[in-house]
Symmetry: C2
DNA sequence: AATCAACATAGTAAATCAATATGTTAATGG
DNA sequence: CCATTAACATATTGATTTACTATGTTGATT
């Protein structure tokens, strides 16, 4: 289960991607548009900024900005930063103490396969893919 | 994240599948083999029994037994029964109140796709696939 | 210097997890 | 029929996480 933290983070990233015209976007604007409590949103933006996905600037004219172009953010990178490892079981989390019954564990390979399927799916989608795009009238 | 409840449930189902020679298997045997506290295991077996995945019999000679053949249990059915809906986000849980911003939600289809990928993967693996199988010397 | 807005730290109510404790019901065997 | 066996039932607990809220600090503009 992805908690609101991760889900909000993704929505906020899309919001910034869609609304930044090269300038910084204020937290309270995002909070209003996305209907998220300012203070809770702040805690999420801290994670995104510390993780290098956003640039924060204080003072007048300050706010948040993407550090790279939307197509360079995979959904996985955003969710993993805010939610932590996406491993579906504890023994596959990075740094987990290898369980002593791992040698004849019937399930670990199955779980590993699930993790792979999830990672591959979320790696295949970028912020750009989630942005509202103008209708293409060409042809 | 799948909690120990779901993980243990799967291990226990495999244990019963592998060790039942047509007779009932006692809880304390399973607990010992799987190294799970008897009382905690009991709460898991209750779920599996109530859900119809196992048959419980009391008294001497009692224990637990599969209700169908291993290849008829998908991993998904076991995990979903013990963990509840596997929906990755709250708004995709069955019975969730549809969120009012759903009409122009940029992410819901992406989440739905993730849920589909997970469901398909877990539907494609059965208890039989996870059982220890005798080496095949044929050819 | 005043204002603005991100940064920092601490705390809290509610929920969930992983158990444990105690007792009850229903089969079986002597 | 009665003792044993083993599943069923209910309640409680400590630890952790989630989703916030409150208060204060730092650093950029104008």
């Amino acid at each position: 289960m992805i908690s609101t933290r991760g889900r909000y983070a993704l929505r906020v990233m899309i919001d910034i991607a869609e609304n930044s015209g090269g300038h910084y976007i204020k937290l309270d604007e995002i909070a209003k548009r996305q209907n998220i409590s300012e203070k809770y949103l702040e805690s999420i933006l801290v994670i995104l900024t510390r993780g290098g996905l956003l640039n924060g600037l204080r003072g007048k004219g300050g706010g948040y900005m993407l550090t790279k172009s939307p197509s360079d953010y995979t959904v996985r990178s955003i969710i993993e930063l805010t939610e932590g490892s996406l491993a579906t079981v504890a023994c596959l989390k990075p740094g987990a103490v290898p369980c002593e019954r791992q040698s004849d564990c019937r399930t670990i390979e199955m779980w590993r396969g699930l993790d792979d399927v999830i990672a591959k799916y979320l790696d295949g989608i970028t912020l750009y893919d989630l942005m509202e795009k103008p209708i293409d009238y060409s042809i």
